[in-house]
């Protein structure tokens, strides 16, 4: 039998459109318009999952986003998602969901024995039990993690697309219930840009489920007209299925829109979810309120739900959750639900904690044959997987205890209503202050911080009539404050059969002595926190709300205590006999509801996470099997293996090719900045440590850049192209940093200097050819005179190379005769291929960054960021030769006479040769004064660069060594991770061609 709990008529589901779905492996049929929860209830499925700690049977408590119990694992494979509220899932064809937190099945769950062992699992159980000995925690943790937790995360990569949208608007209204709609109408008619957000698929909120009249006519028709008008306003944007998640400073909101979650087929063109980042001049909060549960023994059984939820299942989905229903209430308004249930064929009994009852309600109850127990409380419930019987007893309020006979009522559904809590989460996130209202016994907004309004039941105002006009006027007023024209006010007369009135909060069953023993009075359903746990926390000294929260975990579930917080605070107030205001409340933080990480990441995943930069020659490297390494965002060839060579063999071959004949390196990634202006030379004098005034046109010069602390932060060669025109190069990784550094000083310190800086890194492809045959090789391909006399070392020439306009810089990072050929980037690969073709006779060898590193280390050339680390001065690197003594000022100069930089025992840059001539010291190894069996050892320095030198046939290393210059020729020891102790000799940093003859050839 299918849909056995569906009423014969009524509800807004489309009974013509059946939808097949699967829950826990079993097929069911629901209707279009159902949620997973309503469809399950329609099919008489009440047991949805097991609870977190005690594995108790749990059903459906609410009909909205506040649901703590009915959370399921939704979807399969890569798209599976845990902890999804069945009350929010719109049913779609083929939907598959399953229960969580149970094994082997929700009906027969092994973990349920925790319920019987609950006396040994009170609040703080884990803290107390697994504390000793401390070293054992890692062992315990393994088992605890396995037993705890809710659903399963997917193990495969999520195939969906998520998008982000930045949005700017005049007014954002959160909540599409009656208050939000009317505020939107007021603001919308005024002409300002309005964004209306609602988490449901349908606008209308609370009023969709209850009968009401406007101007003595059917309210539902009026509501439809309001929505139609809003839909027609071009300046009003409505987002349904969108939950406002975060409310940050200055009206910055984030919201998550479910775009295709509820679709049968996943879309190729639409994202699954869209994450909105909204900046709004004004925000109107109209989020409504959540109904508050009542606290009594075993109030968590399937079949026990909020009265408003029962109302919604019945009136919206045409589902009667029970036939023999008990309404347990402390207020008038919930009687509407009792009447509705009777009308749809249920037998209803009311248990009311109050002793006086409104005469009209009394009369109607009599008429409908509803038995009312006044001044009674439900004290216990029974039923294994669904409630089947309750016990009630009279309450003696004067004595604050239960009295008289315990009476039994057989029932299959208990509806409870403990009053309403405004949904103040976003308001609190916006730093709004709350106060406790004794009339409706809950926290309501008090002081607003942001440019904001809060209206309707969200503001503690539950009366329909008052909400209608106030909300509309709030919308007009908000628009007015933003200087939009006023529109005419409207007077609506709204009526419900029973108006909201003051309600007493009954935070727990009154027989307080009974609370601590026996049955469980749940406060927080999702985290299995009972009234007894709150009592225990107070007894053990966790009396601040924040401590109680963390000790008991109340309000810490995925529902963030939407149904439990106020009851927990009310109970604390009762225990301490203090007003709730003095107890306070915990902090509300974003997100308002669980949200996917994918939506926050948006499109910033995979290839779009961080851009990959490739040179114009990159594809040639790929075709020629280069192994790449990442240098910042750049992909650079690391080495070019041939015939199964490993890195060592390839690097050795590449090094020797450069030293003996001809190598070629793609150096396009080098940072390049074009400097122009009459003050360029003056500027360079301030930026670099050496002098630039006398650099001739057509010459190149190496420079070190230091910060004001005197520490090296970049280096490179800058060439003078013309009278007021320079070409600066930087390290590959430092290009952006140097550019910002130059701009910083030009824009903030030396505003009078006339210099323009332009990044030209990507405009030029740089082919660096190096080796004794490089001149002979290049001569055939260029019209530039390359003779030693006419184009010496450290000069620059312009001309043509392979028919392409080129700049050639005769500079060298290998120590060999070298030319850096710059051609426009679009010709990079063309010229490279010509070079490879023509270079065959010299065995031209492409080499990568590793060979480049080895070759420069043989020459003792530093790499900023590898040999230096931001705490190193030019003097520390033995580069005093490049620090001008004559210049009056340059960045960093003053710091060279600070007490710290003139210390003679600073670490200095030295070379190291291992005595065994074969060990390659790991970079980062420490040089110690004396090698001991274990640390601590007195450290003297560390290895910054270390390689096997194919040119020399033994390993070489560069290091920073305390007082290193005076230790030349001395022995040092380097202990390795594997326990070996390596002895080495301190040497000069230049290992090859000390006189520098080769690059001057």
């Amino acid at each position: 039998m299918s849909n056995q709990n569906r009423t014969i008529y009524g509800g807004k589901v489309n009974r013509e459109k059946p939808i097949n779905f699967v829950f826990n492996g079993k097929s069911y049929i629901g209707y279009q318009g159902d949620t997973l929860a309503s469809a399950l209830l329609a099919n008489d499925v009440h047991l949805i999952g097991r609870s977190f700690k005690y594995h108790r049977a749990r059903g459906i408590l609410t009909a909205g986003s506040e649901e703590p119990n009915a959370i399921v694992q939704l979807g399969l494979g890569a798209r599976t998602e845990p902890n999804i509220r069945a009350t929010e899932v719109e049913l779609y064809e083929g939907l598959e969901a399953s229960s969580q937190n149970c094994w082997p099945s929700v009906n027969f769950d092994i973990g349920a024995m925790n319920n019987f062992l609950s006396r040994i699992f009170p609040a703080g159980f884990y803290y107390k039990t697994f504390k000793w000995p401390p070293s054992m925690w890692l062992f315990y943790e393994h088992f605890i993690r396995k037993a705890a937790g809710l659903g399963q995360s997917p193990t495969a990569k999520n195939p969906d697309r998520y998008e982000q949208k930045f949005y700017y608007t005049d007014i954002t209204i959160v909540g599409g219930g009656i208050s939000g709609l009317l505020a939107a109408l007021g603001a919308g008619r005024s002409g300002c840009k309005v964004l209306l957000i609602d988490e449901n698929p349908e606008l209308g909120g609370y009023l969709l489920d209850y009968n009401f009249s406007i101007n003595e006519k059917d309210g539902k028709k009026w509501l439809k007209k309001i929505i139609e008008e809003l839909d027609g306003l071009a300046n009003v944007t409505i987002l349904k299925r969108t939950t406002a998640m975060g409310y940050y400073d200055y009206n910055y909101l984030t919201a998550l829109e479910k775009v295709t979650n509820h679709h049968v087929e996943f879309s190729n063109t639409l994202p699954r979810e869209r994450y909105w980042r909204i900046r709004s001049k004004k925000v109107i909060l109209a989020q409504g309120a959540f109904e508050r549960p009542l606290v009594f023994a075993d109030n968590d059984r399937p079949g026990i739900m909020m009265a408003s939820a029962g109302q919604k299942y019945l009136s919206r989905y045409g589902v009667l959750p029970g036939k023999s229903v008990v309404l347990f209430t402390n207020n008038d308004h919930a009687y509407l639900t009792a009447f509705e249930f009777v009308e749809k064929g249920a037998k209803v009994t009311v248990v009311d904690t109050r002793d006086l009852l409104n005469a009209r309600i009394s009369e109607k109850c009599k008429l409908l044959n509803i038995k009312v127990f006044k001044s009674y409380s439900v004290i216990k419930t029974y039923g294994d997987k669904k409630v089947n019987r309750i016990e009630i007893q009279q309450v003696d309020k004067n004595q604050n205890q239960l009295t008289g006979e315990v009476e039994n009522i057989h029932t299959d559904c208990v509806l409870m209503s403990g009053g309403w809590n405004p949904a103040v989460q976003l308001f609190s996130q916006s730093r709004g202050k709350l106060k406790y209202d004794l009339k409706i016994n809950t926290f309501i907004p008090d002081k607003i911080i942001e440019n904001q309004k809060i209206i309707g039941s969200n503001n503690g105002q539950f009366n329909l009539q008052e909400n209608l006009n106030e909300s509309f006027e709030a919308g007009i007023a908000a628009a007015n404050e933003l200087n939009f024209n006023s529109v005419e006010k409207v007077n609506w007369t709204g009526k419900e059969e029973i108006e909201f009135t003051h309600s007493d909060v009954e935070p727990y069953m009154l027989g307080k002595k009974k609370v601590t023993k026996g049955s469980k009075h749940f406060i927080d359903f999702q985290n299995d926190v009972t009234a007894a746990d709150i009592f225990l926390a107070q007894r053990e000294g966790y009396i601040s709300v924040e401590h109680t929260k963390r000790y008991t975990t109340t309000g810490m579930g995925t529902d963030q205590g939407k149904t439990s917080n106020v009851n927990a605070l009310a109970l604390m107030s009762h225990i301490h006999n203090k007003p709730v205001d003095e107890i306070g409340h915990t902090t509300f933080r974003p997100p308002y509801a669980p949200q996917t990480i994918g939506a926050i990441a948006g499109r910033s995943v995979d290839k779009l996470f961080d851009p990959v930069r490739k040179t114009s020659i990159h594809e040639w490297h790929v075709e020629n099997k280069a192994v790449f390494e990442d240098v910042g965002q750049w992909k650079r060839p690391y080495y070019f293996p041939q015939n199964k060579e490993d890195i060592h063999q390839a690097v050795k071959r590449e090094c020797l090719a450069v030293r003996n004949s001809l190598g070629i390196l793609d150096a396009s990634t080098l940072g390049k900045i074009d400097l122009q202006g009459p003050d360029a030379a003056k500027f360079l004098n301030m930026i670099y440590t050496n002098a630039w005034s006398k650099l001739e046109i057509g010459s190149c010069r190496y420079g070190l850049m230091c910060n004001e602390h005197g520490m090296i932060f970049d280096d490179g060669v800058t060439s003078r192209l013309g009278e007021n025109h320079y070409h600066m190069t930087t390290t590959t990784g430092g290009a952006a940093r140097v550019m910002s550094w130059l701009e910083e000083f030009l824009q903030t310190e030396w505003l009078d200097m006339k210099v323009f800086c332009t990044s030209v890194t990507e405009q030029w492809a740089v082919l660096s050819i190096s080796g004794p045959n490089s001149r002979k090789f290049l001569e055939d391909l260029t019209n530039i005179d390359l003779s030693k006399e006419n184009f010496p070392f450290m000069k620059f020439r312009e001309g043509e190379v392979c028919g392409v306009k080129a700049r050639i810089f005769r500079i060298s990072f290998t120590g060999e005769l070298s030319y850096e050929v710059n051609v426009p980037a679009r010709y990079g690969r063309y010229v490279w291929e010509k070079f490879m073709e023509h270079g065959k006779k010299y065995n031209i060898t492409p080499y990568g960054t590793e060979t480049m590193h080895v070759l420069r280390a043989e020459k003792g050339f530093i790499i900023v960021g590898q040999d230096t680390d931001g705490s190193v001065t030019p003097s520390d690197m033995n580069m005093d030769w490049i620090v001008s003594k004559k210049k009056e000022d340059f960045l960093g100069k003053r710091s060279y006479t600070r007490s710290d930089t003139i210390r003679h025992d600073r670490k200095k840059f030295v070379g190291l040769l291992v005595n065994d001539k074969k060990t390659i010291l790991p970079e980062g190894s420490h040089i110690v004064e004396k090698a001991l069996k274990q640390p601590p050892m007195k450290m003297l320095g560390h290895i910054t660069s270390s390689y096997y030198s194919p040119t020399l046939g033994y390993p070489i290393a560069l290091a920073m060594l305390k007082d290193g210059i005076s230790k030349m020729g001395e022995q040092v020891v380097v202990p390795l991770m594997n326990g070996k102790i390596i002895e080495a000799t301190v040497t000069d940093t230049i290992f090859y061609d000390k006189e520098g003859k080769r690059n001057n050839e």
């Binding site: 200055y250 900046r279 004001e708 701009e743 310190e749 505003l751 100069k893 003053r894």
Partner: protein, 94 residues
């Protein structure tokens, strides 16, 4: 998270900007003549106030210009933005 009024481009999202710390710390004209203490003050000492603060910002993902921002460090309110070289605004006592 807020909107910053770039003096060159107008109002833009905060994510386009970078903060570079305290403003109006002029580089000494004569570094070689000042004491270690004075140089140290320029290098290391910052106000770090609770309340109104003057900061240097750049519009990195925009005009790439540097400018100054008067910001309340308690509320994050941007009180004023102004170009480099313009005088430091008065702090009102309201």
């Amino acid at each position: 998270m807020f909107i910053i009024n770039c003096p060159y481009c107008g109002e833009r999202d905060q994510t386009e900007f970078t903060c570079h710390g305290e403003a109006h710390i002029a580089r000494p004209d004569n570094p070689s003549e000042i004491s270690d203490e004075e140089w140290g003050r320029y290098l290391f000492f910052r106000e770090n106030p609770k309340g109104t603060h003057f900061e240097r910002w750049t519009h990195d993902h925009g005009c790439r210009r540097w400018f100054n921002v008067m910001r309340d460090t308690v509320t994050d309110q941007i009180i004023k933005t102004y170009k480099m070289g313009e005088a430091k605004p008065e702090i009102s006592n309201e």
